[in-house]
Symmetry: C2
């Protein structure tokens, strides 16, 4: 018996941070704001996680990587948790987020073109006249 069962309480306890790559403080933060459920504790107060927690945190992390806000993630989770989950509703929310991403890309691209245009006018020399400053500073 290598990893034997000495007290059933600690059987297959999982280090959630290591299993997901998520920062411990972030896990605790998700717990306090109700994104993750409070796990059971050992007699000494240590949190005990199982595979459900790993799965749920994985969902949260993937959604965050795709740029969903925590409120949007909360909304998606409530669809998953409750019986109100329908593909149509999820698709609607994902599409709304996609529109948002597209708008942010457009904003950044217009910034990019203005900025690139101004930088291109710079001489880049060791002189105090600068096209970037002139462009930013009102007369």
């Amino acid at each position: 018996m290598t990893t034997s069962q000495r007290s059933t309480a600690n059987l297959r306890r999982i280090d959630l941070s290591r299993a997901t790559g998520c920062n411990v403080e972030t896990i605790r933060y998700y717990e306090t704001i109700g994104i993750l459920p409070s796990p059971p504790r050992t007699a000494k107060g240590y949190r005990v996680y199982d595979h459900e927690h790993v799965s749920r945190l994985g969902f949260v992390m993937r959604a965050r990587e795709l740029g969903f806000t925590l409120e949007e993630v909360r909304g998606l989770l409530s669809l998953v948790d409750g019986d109100g989950l329908t593909c149509g509703e999820v698709q609607r929310r994902a599409q709304a987020h996609l529109d948002d991403v597209a708008a942010r890309i457009a904003d950044l691209q217009s910034i990019q073109s203005v900025l690139a245009g101004t930088v291109a006018k710079c001489t880049g020399k060791d002189v105090p006249e600068c096209a970037v400053i002139d462009a930013l500073m009102p007369a």
Copy 2:
């Protein structure tokens, strides 16, 4: 004498908020963090601005619109204020910011393609199976 000089103190007093379109609270915030200098005050404690302030705040607002952080703005302002302003240095900082913008666009575009791909797999119907959820939720 229409806008006559009755006490020199209030001569040509400027409403900085109206002149720039910047929120009053934001102006005060910029003052407390040292982005804008503390203006002189009237006897009753009202701030009195001049065209220098308008110009400086305009600079800050334009730079912010182009996505510079306040710390980057502070750096550009210190170049303008001190005698250390050279076109080369400004160009270097603007280019660094431009690289940053490009990286953020690339990130958003990869999010966009992943998300668009998943949403496209949705049936969009009133059923509880959803391709988006499946893609986000680990096995």
